[in-house]
Symmetry: C3
Subunit: 267 residues, 3 copies
């Protein structure tokens, strides 16, 4: 299955519209190019609907949101939904400020997302759970596997989106199926943008497989984890690790992905 998902990405080379933050935009663009997709970043309200309409998927990342770009996110997200194109949400830092929480909730209320990807704290906040996240990091108390699992399923049933929660083990669920993916490496937390890059990859994988969102999401999560895992094998420092993750993305094959994926299906 994952081989087909990945081959579709390579064959279709989907164009992915990213409304994203300026901290990791370069990494997001480079990992999309590395995996075989094509990125475009555009965030002005006067053009985002048009850009979305020529793309295969839209990724909304609120990492450095502002009043101007929030409007653009709403416009683009609605257009993508109208056109039936996959829309991904990365609610970076939801819980860290009222603006982030409210924006993420508003986006979820007004846009039909295909996938929502966050860490355990962000996903919990979007479920209406209490608590405060530690900036853009996860709180330890939110990371218990059973809690993560329950929150992901709950957010999925609330929104109709597949939900991907990344952490020590990553979970992907569409409310019915649940996959637990244990690829990745602890050192990835020391490189900024691994979460953002995964969200952009979700745009690529879902853009090329719009009728297989759950499988595409699982495949993207495993792909990102494997890039980190392989890159960590040659670890000399976190600067090189960042470069290595992109290198691994550009060298990934369906065969390597299929062989390396560590996945367990649950309910």
């Amino acid at each position: 299955m994952f081989e087909t998902i990945f081959e579709n990405l390579k064959d279709k080379s989907p164009l992915v519209h990213n409304i994203t933050n300026y901290v990791t935009a370069n990494d997001c663009a480079n990992i999309l190019l590395a995996c075989g997709a094509s990125p475009i970043m555009a965030d002005d309200a006067a053009e985002v609907a048009e850009i979305t309409s020529i793309c295969d998927a839209l990724v909304i990342n609120i990492g450095t949101l502002n009043s101007r770009t929030i409007e653009s996110m709403l416009i683009s997200g609605k257009r993508a939904a109208e056109l039936g194109k996959p829309v991904i949400l990365d609610p970076v830092g939801a819980g860290a400020s009222a603006l982030r929480t409210e924006t993420a909730v508003r986006l979820i209320n007004e846009i039909r997302f295909s996938v929502i990807r966050g860490n355990a704290s962000e996903i919990k906040i979007l479920c209406g759970g209490a608590g405060k996240s530690r900036g853009v990091d996860v709180s330890d108390s939110d990371s218990d596997a059973e809690t993560v699992f329950e929150n992901a399923k709950r957010l999925s049933s609330l929104t109709g989106a597949a939900v991907a929660v990344t952490g020590k083990t990553d979970f992907v669920t569409d409310g019915i199926r649940v996959a637990a993916i244990s690829n990745g490496h602890p050192l990835m937390k020391r490189v900024t943008g691994c979460g953002c890059m995964l969200s952009s990859l979700l745009g690529g994988f879902c853009g090329a497989n719009p009728d297989e969102i759950f499988d595409a999401a699982v495949c993207a999560v495993a792909f990102m984890g494997l890039c980190g895992e392989y890159a960590a094998q040659n670890y000399v420092g976190t600067g090189s690790l960042r470069t290595g993750i992109i290198d691994e993305a550009s060298n990934m094959t369906a065969e390597k992905l299929n062989r390396g994926i560590k996945i367990e299906f649950r309910q």
Copy 2:
């Protein structure tokens, strides 16, 4: 000739004002430093005219344009033209949205550019050609060498600017002279920002050689291509390739440039 152009860059260390996108701004700054120039990024309408006035060249890149920065582009471009400083345009994604096309056309109508650099689709759009670009990528139908060549000459005669079209073969023309440069490597398309970096380099090379715009443009195009070519010789992945391109820029010599350049003059 190219040795003198490059030596001037090294000797003068021109200061280059970039109004550019947040995806590749870091790469643009680093390649300017690598080649011996000095970058400054500034995009607020309240300061751009002043920043332009202390610089040797201005680069306008519409990659992540917005209403605020479009105004700054117009202000800066006019000031640079008044002061007789080279101005470079990179019309990223012209054709992908009305905003991009209209902004690029408006910039060309209101500012006297020294060099316009784009891919075949962007240059075609600016000639008034019909068609739609594929995001920030080139359409295959626009890439025929003769078409590219004709569009570049036409845009040059319409604007008075030298036009540099990058693709499998790069063309530079000032409407009379035409150079076909076949440096570069196909892998460069898998690293974001190779076009943007070249546009910033054009600012450096033209800023140091304001009376030799055509030669400076040819030299910058060959310089960028050679950096990619040399970096691709040690290819292990696209992340390392990005780093390697900057490394090669910092290690380029006039002698290596002169020896490596693959150029043919046409009419």
Copy 3:
């Protein structure tokens, strides 16, 4: 002493709020993660006070300032001061435009900074010295060690902040104590963001050591210099050097820092 300062950073993993430029934001985030701190970038006026309040320090960098973010800088800086949290200023390009000079002066007048870090030209401008900086670079005439030393002391007594001036030799003073630090490497000037990264590191070191600002600032300056020094030992080009600096940051130990620091105390 420096071992304790650095161990505190490792133990506390301070959360650092950066209102910074889009050119080097990725490097700032990555070097904070590399040294053991945690970054958050947020610049919208509607959330910055709240973000600052959950963080251990605030870094204000005016590298790509605009009217929207200037307001955010003022809001955040005041909130941090109210809460007694360290605030760092990096007046990038002060002197290059009236907007930059006036903004830096306004920030200094309205916010109680813990540390101000700049190059010799920027610090001179903030002392009310005449002159014009060369974009974001230092003017040669401003780099005389005695002049640098006097300007730093003067700015410190004017503002109550510790002042760190980076150049061939770096100076840190709190108006009374003066440390001259001769770590670093000339090649660091060819990588964009070494100054910005140091300013973000100052946020990390001061955030973990809020009662020892002078020592924390000295330690951060030496840390950054040593990263550059060690990375330059394996120099192959400026692209790799950038990566190497982050690698060295992630591999730094209190022992290496203590052994490598080249410091002299003056008056």
